[in-house]
């Protein structure tokens, strides 16, 4: 009895449509974002994350409008990410009905933005997204991960675990950790980096990137120490439903909201 681990379906939205690619290419259409979010709400998802993957300036109004519509029809927490660079971007998304915003690239270029955002809006709504790639060789005694920006294309030389701790100290309320090595590969989370970051911070960690089956979700919690697990394609294309995933995880002794 206590706090349940969360399942968070993720909607990657490009020009008003839910899409899902493999390592950010080969994009497949998965529907209208509001309809998709409603479906997950009805299925019992614990939150929904909306990532605006185009995030070009012209698309902003479309995104705000979609978030508004989603927030009017979906009564579970909604996180919005993609192109959040200024205090005004956060204000726009929260006013549109988002409960949290996810800051990624902007945090890397200007870490103080995270502090400013947390002071202004409260840590509870500031999620810092970390895209990590393994940079150590398999034979190395100690594994190392670094953060990458621009959809995993640009290395930064920053250690992912140290970065997570720094983001927490600046006021982040949650970490959304995506393994760029695993994203879209369907071979499971990178449990090493998930565990390393989850142990290093005292704020909740969402594991993301690589889910191909229900065991992967359970492993993210039991082995990776994640507080929430995020997945996209296994739910979008009907391979599994949210209730199936929850029952599966609960059967492995994980506390879930059923």
């Amino acid at each position: 009895m206590g706090l349940a681990k969360r399942i968070i379906p993720c909607l990657d939205v490009d020009q008003g449509r839910v899409v899902k690619g493999v390592q950010f290419v080969d994009i497949r259409d998965a529907g209208d974002p509001v309809e998709v979010a409603k479906k997950y709400d009805e299925q019992g998802a614990d939150e929904v994350t909306f990532l605006d993957i185009t995030a070009s300036h012209e698309e902003r109004d479309t995104t705000i409008h979609t978030v508004e519509k989603m927030a009017s029809e979906v009564f579970i927490p909604l996180t919005v990410g993609g192109g959040i660079r200024k205090v005004q971007d956060i204000r726009d998304m929260l006013n549109a009905g988002a409960d949290k915003v996810s800051i990624n690239t902007a945090a890397v270029f200007n870490p103080d933005f995270v502090g400013e955002a947390a002071a202004r809006f409260g840590s509870q709504c500031i999620v810092v997204a970390i895209d990590a790639k393994c940079v150590s060789a398999p034979e190395d005694a100690i594994a190392r991960w670094e953060i990458f920006t621009h959809g995993g294309r640009k290395p930064t030389g920053i250690d992912a675990v140290e970065w997570a701790v720094k983001m927490m100290q600046l006021g982040a309320g949650e970490i959304l950790l995506t393994s760029m090595d695993r994203d879209g590969m369907k071979n499971g989370f990178d449990l090493g980096v998930t565990k390393a970051i989850s142990d290093a911070v005292s704020i909740p960690v969402i594991a993301s990137g690589g889910v191909g089956n229900l065991q992967h979700l359970a492993d993210g919690v039991t082995q990776g120490g994640a507080d929430a697990v995020l997945a996209a394609s296994i739910f979008h294309f009907g391979e599994y439903t949210i209730p199936e995933a929850k029952r599966f995880m609960q059967a492995q002794g994980i506390e879930m909201r059923l």
């Binding site: 349940a4 927030a71 579970i76 009905g97 409960d99 509870q124 709504c125 309320g173």
Partner: protein, 212 residues
């Protein structure tokens, strides 16, 4: 027409609360407003709140809502949500200590950076779906099963030992998930984000006459 006013004191998004009430209470007019006359003339009032208590209390006082709320709770049902509930306590430890409205005897305390439950380390904020045990029946609990899960997100809490606690949740400590007194029902969780159980609570509020 049944009118519910959501007090807007500039802290955070009130859209979700108003949309959720509209969704469950057809025939109810929901106003998001900072106009004292509109708030006074509503049948029911919601005091929401997100963010840091110092800023919330500063805005509540600046806009004169402290005395307005004191007046409202004598007359009509008032629902406090999250920091809105914390603002109803005597005092909060957040931001080096902030005096609150004092509608309830209770202190708002920090979970701490080293929170445990048995051998398990607990993360702070307390974020996610946790079970609420109802201390006694209340019209606001109608249609909500005891032990239902609601969505919480907070780093500060009110002890479950406060006399007014009508719902409690375990997270390192027994915390007050809901407090009630006369016309006031206040919750630490977010009913507008708590799907079926939360929507039922908001529906109950839209019909509640302020008695137990």
């Amino acid at each position: 027409m049944n009118t519910i006013a959501i007090i807007d004191y500039g802290m955070g998004n009130l859209h979700s609360v108003s949309k959720a009430i509209e969704h469950v209470a057809s025939g109810t007019r929901v106003l998001v407003t900072s106009d004292a006359a509109q708030i006074r003339s509503a049948d029911r009032v919601v005091l929401p709140g997100v963010g840091a208590i110092r800023d919330c209390m500063a805005e509540i006082r600046r806009l004169g809502f402290d005395s307005l709320v004191q007046e409202l709770v004598l007359e009509k049902p008032v629902l406090g949500i999250c920091v809105g509930m914390q603002a109803m306590m005597q005092h909060s430890q957040e931001n080096d200590g902030v005096d609150c409205m004092g509608l309830f005897d209770g202190e708002v305390e920090y979970f701490g950076d080293d929170l445990h439950e048995g051998n398990e380390r607990l993360k702070v904020p307390h974020m996610g779906w946790n079970q609420v045990q109802q201390a006694r029946p209340h019209p606001m609990w109608q249609g909500i099963e005891n032990g239902s899960r609601f969505y919480f997100v907070h780093s500060y809490y009110v002890s479950g030992d406060v006399p007014a606690a009508i719902g409690s949740t375990q997270y390192g400590y027994a915390i007050a998930a809901a407090v009630a007194k006369k016309n006031i029902f206040a919750v630490q969780f977010h009913p507008e984000k708590s799907q079926h159980a939360g929507l039922q609570l908001l529906k109950n509020f839209s019909q509640w006459d302020g008695t137990e």
